[in-house]
Amino acid sequence: MFFLDQAWLVPLIPAISFVVILLFGKRMPRQGSEVGVVAVGASFLLSCGAVVRWILRVHDAEGGSALGAFGRSIGRIGADHAEVPVLPVLHHVTWFQNGGVRLTAGIQIDGLAVVMMFVVTLISLLVHVYSLEYMRGDRRFTYFYAALSLFTASMLLLVVADNTLQLLVGWELVGVCSFMLIGHWWEEKPNSDAALKAFLTTRTGDIGLLTGVIMTFFIVQRATGVGSFNIVALNQAVSDPSSKVGHTLILWCAAALMLAIVGKSGQFPLHTWLPDAMAGPTPVSALIHAATMVVAGVYLGARVYPVFFHGFSIGDGGVNPMAAIGGITVIVGALLAFVQDDIKKVLAYSTISQLGYMVMALGVGAWTAAVFHLFTHAFFKADLFLGAGSVSHSGSHHSFDMKTDMGGLKKYMPQTYKTFVIGTLALAGIFPLAGFWSKDEILVNAGHNNYKLFLVIGLVGAFMTAAYMTRCVYLTFHGEYRGGHEPHAIPHVDEAEHDPIDTPASVEHDAEVHPPHESNRLLTGPLWVLSFFAVFAGFLNFPHFSRFEKWFQPRYPAGFAEILHPVAFNPILATVSVLIAGAGIGIASAYYLGKLPQGLSERNAIARAGKRFLVNKYYLDYVYENVIVAGIKGPISTGVYWFNQNVIDNVLNYTGRGAQALGRATYEYVDQKGVDGLVNGIATLTGESGGEVRKIQTGRLQFYALVLVAAVVIFAGVLWIST
């Protein structure tokens, strides 16, 4: 079982690659990128091996050959497979020992871990290859590859961790790497601001993780008498109905870990860092959004799921914080995606929304659906991000603005167009692409577990997803090409006139003026690989076939396996969700295709189409008015956007903007109503007392030294006298 027992090599190889690139990268012929690609490639192969070995292990545990198990499982209906326990592969070494507590570092390889290893290494490998072209000539090319390697290594460290402490280490390393990569072009102030914002916001959540991790130690101690950070022991301790662990402790632990998930996975209300993180290079965005940074939160939720399940009482069908936050995030993220002009920001809000789905799925008891959605989402979201990067790289002169620099790129960039559309359809959940199966599974489970509200939220989210992605595709690839100085000129005329926009990514071969063109194979290759997965990954969990569920759902400890209830495919719901998604695409494209001659009648036509009131309002308020009557923004979306930009940011930047807002409020309500005296009095008092205190602050070093020495003398004298 080489691939499972030696899985620690998977994070180790990129980690070594990081050191090698950092030390020797600049002297290498390709500036270190070859080391990164080879290392991640090796990790990818090891991960593939691990996946295969794990599947065989599952079959071995069920008895008989793999083929026999395959035959039997076809006729199976759902629920009997969890009976055979399949032990995870566990190995650990003592990390350090302190006061009788032995802390270990090790690997826990089970279905979840191998799936994540596969996804992370695959996406990372493609991103590495893609960056060869995308980042060519960048001012910190070597550094970029070093950071990418470390990023991958950290995420893999987190994935294979067998204890929560090691998970915390990987988690923090991922945060640091995302900081380095988001701020890759830190010379521009907004970029370094974005990096700081991402880091600080996720740090807010990390407080929760740290607290939660400490609590996991005591949960195990309460249950077994010996404290430990071990994840298996934790899941056992929490799931065991006869254990001595109180519900309150589990609840607090779940709440703390939930905060960590909210911060890391961009859940409402800490999601604001994610769109700003678009300041980083596009391959990094793909990596962050698809495979590493943000899914760490969902992974944590899946890893210690029994804690949430029992802590939040997920099984009983009531509204719980996890499902609620996930549901809110689905809607908030999708709403915001409508008003973005930056293609990457549309995708960023889309990621927020999709992460909301995953968290919501965990919150409604659909573990497998959440992990499956994570799995499929990684492929199509990486596909979309890399597609957006390709557009910006070759089609719009390094701009990401759909309104001013894109449009009509379909005929220039057919490959990018096709892959982008595949990604869009998968994201929208159109049958039979990957997103359909995973999203449908979430919805079926939500319905089955009596979470009707979240079922509705999921359906609404599906509609919005389809609509905003159609808008995005339309603005980018259809219509007239708007790049260059004259938006209305015929493309081939203005191609010759415009200047390339100078952005950090600009490289030599793009420095001269040229028309939009297809990207080369280093860019389109990864796109096609991802498109392949975006189309076919969903079949892994085809109804009644359910390989994903069978192979990767945890079967140990028993308490964990028990709480996972697989639910049969529901054809009616599936049809409804596809119809809804199709309606989203249909409405959005109908609007855009008929937009130019008479905008107003188009609006009426859609109203006549008899779609739901909410849908119409949505569509008109956000898409229509935002595009044509450009000053009248839709109230809800603008409101949410305002809320997002002002209120939430204010809460986050509490000390700064909060104080400012308080000052403004004081001015408007107290001062303006004539209580000048009081206000001025307070101000004067503060000012004068400040002035008095200020006198001590002479700024003279020697005065400070005098005070210091005098204090020492006095203390020494007092000590002497008193002894």
Partner: protein, 163 residues
């Protein structure tokens, strides 16, 4: 024994006067020269204690190098060579009081603790012993100090460089 005490007394008086000179003189160059007196006196005290090596190092390093450095510093900052206005700031009196209290506490403590302990110098410490100590027991601090000196050298160059 009496002779030693007399020698000590004379040197100590010279050092005390020199020290007061360093902190009271109105001429910066004089201050440096007073400092020479104090340091030379210190070296003499070391010999009196039978610690010859450190005494000669004190003469070489301090009087030979550090004082020259100070004179350079005085020259480069165009320090006032001629007594005009005071070189003291307005914290003189509080500082004096604090220092007096400090010396009072220290002397009191010393008298209280070591009131009749005698230093009995039979023979001077051999330089060979000192060096073997440095290069065996204290080899790591010695190396660290070497690195520190290098760091200080580079640091001083970087700081003082005109760029």
């Amino acid at each position: 024994m009496i002779a030693e005490n007399v020698v000590f007394g004379i040197i100590a008086a010279a050092m005390a006067l020199g020290a007061i000179g360093v902190v009271r003189t109105k001429n910066v160059v004089h201050a440096a020269l007073y400092l020479v007196v104090v340091l030379a006196g210190g070296a003499a005290q070391f010999i009196l204690l039978g610690q010859e090596f450190v005494a000669w190092v004190q003469v070489l390093v301090y009087i030979g190098a550090v004082i020259v450095l100070f004179l350079f510093g005085i020259m480069l900052t165009r320090a006032p060579m001629h007594p005009k206005d005071s070189l003291d700031n307005d914290l003189r009196w509080p500082a004096a009081v604090t220092s007096l209290f400090l010396v009072g506490i220290l002397v009191g403590l010393l008298v209280h603790t070591f009131h009749a302990d005698k230093v009995d110098v039979q023979r001077p410490v051999r330089t060979a012993d000192v060096t073997s100590s440095i290069f065996t027991t204290y080899i790591v601090p010695f190396e660290v100090v070497g690195v520190l000196l290098l760091g200080a050298l580079i640091g001083a160059v970087v700081l003082a460089r005109k760029d």
